[in-house]
């Protein structure tokens, strides 16, 4: 009944329940469309998508940790590659590590969220996949890493791939939560 030793990302992806990818894409599209109607400002929609992603990320991290069985000292590279494969079935590559090892780029070759999507002229500033930056930020915060995630390349704006830049701001240590005199 207990789970087995570390499994490869392919094996994990195969073992979780799948949902129809078109349903997923269209549902996400409907959410963005509704946010645009409700909020009207593109910047507001970007922020809201990031916040939604953050709320997802803080829960997603436990599922990721439980299923992927990575060792305690989580390494950025492994997390990114296994995480994207497990939850979306897409391959992400981690590149462009800077000298201190605190910033890296995540490159997504294909992205199920943007199938069938074209940005109209009125929404050229919209980061359609901003939910990803929130998810990554939320998940990393739960493992004590405060990060900043920004989009470098976006296929909906004419670039050739999706590229996210993840920058580690600081590592937050565990503090004793109770005051001593209580």
């Amino acid at each position: 009944m207990a789970p087995a030793a570390p499994r490869s990302d392919e094996a994990i992806f195969a073992s979780v329940e799948h949902v129809n990818s078109e349903l997923f894409t269209l549902t996400y599209g409907a959410i963005v469309r509704q946010l645009l109607t409700d909020l009207e400002e593109v910047e507001e929609v970007n922020k809201q998508l990031d916040q939604m992603g953050y709320n997802i990320g803080i829960r997603l991290v436990d599922e990721f940790l439980a299923k992927s069985n990575v060792s305690k000292c989580v390494d950025f590279k492994e997390t990114a590659e296994v995480g994207f494969k497990m939850f979306l079935g897409i391959t992400a590559s981690v590149t462009n590590w800077d000298a201190e090892g605190t910033t890296c780029s995540l490159i997504l070759e294909d992205n199920p969220l943007v199938d069938f999507v074209e940005l109209p002229d009125t929404c050229q500033d919209l980061y359609y996949c901003n939910i990803f930056s929130g998810i990554i930020r939320g998940a990393l915060e739960m493992v004590s890493m405060k990060t900043e995630v920004t989009w470098v390349r976006d296929m909906l704006r004419g670039d050739d791939a999706f590229e996210l830049k993840v920058k580690l701001l600081k590592q937050v240590s565990e503090e004793y939560p109770y005051k001593d005199d209580e």
């Binding site: 829960r59 436990d62 739960m142 493992v143 939560p177 109770y178």
Partner: protein
């Protein structure tokens, strides 16, 4: 430890009366010290009210982790005692045993701590604790009505944990 177990210390504790019930208590804490879940199956003596009990348990684990990390003979880099550690760093203890009970701990990198107090002759419970963590993910994390950081009020989770723990040999 004077607050758990009976007042007279015997070499072997009484055999659990409920059939197949090896476990005494279960605690689940999050990284901020909030006790998300406390279940009790067999605890004859209670000396503290539940809030103090939870704080004591969390404090005990926090200090033990810090101590065990500092006393690690294989680790090169050690800070001073009392300096907060990152959840992944250093070694971390996973169980301790007294003559009346055994306490097993599992801590995830996200700070979720699962503690199971059982009969002292219980074997290694790490796989079981991982299974409980999986149950937590399935029934609590994925539950849209649950807000992260709040105590767990989820019947399905309670019954599945109950069932699983009662089945532990």
């Amino acid at each position: 430890m004077q607050f758990f177990g009976g007042s007279e210390i015997s070499p072997s504790p009484p055999v659990p009366t409920a059939s197949g019930n090896n476990a005494y208590m279960l605690y689940i804490f999050n990284r901020n010290g909030v006790c998300l879940l406390y279940r009790e199956w067999n605890r004859p003596l209670k000396t503290l009210n539940s809030q103090q009990d939870h704080k004591l348990m969390f404090g005990l684990l926090f200090s033990l982790k810090s101590l065990t990390a500092k006393m690690d003979p294989t680790c090169v880099d050690k800070g001073n005692l009392g300096v907060p550690q990152l959840p992944g760093q250093g070694c971390s203890f996973h169980s301790f045993r007294t003559n009346t009970y055994k306490l097993s701990l599992m801590e995830s990198p996200s700070g979720i701590k699962i503690i199971l107090v059982t009969h002292p002759r219980t074997g290694d419970l790490r796989e079981s604790l991982k299974y409980i963590y999986n149950l937590y993910v399935e029934y609590v994390v994925k539950n849209p009505l649950y807000s992260p950081g709040a105590p767990i009020r989820c019947e399905l989770f309670d019954t599945s944990v109950d069932q699983y723990v009662r089945g532990l040999g």
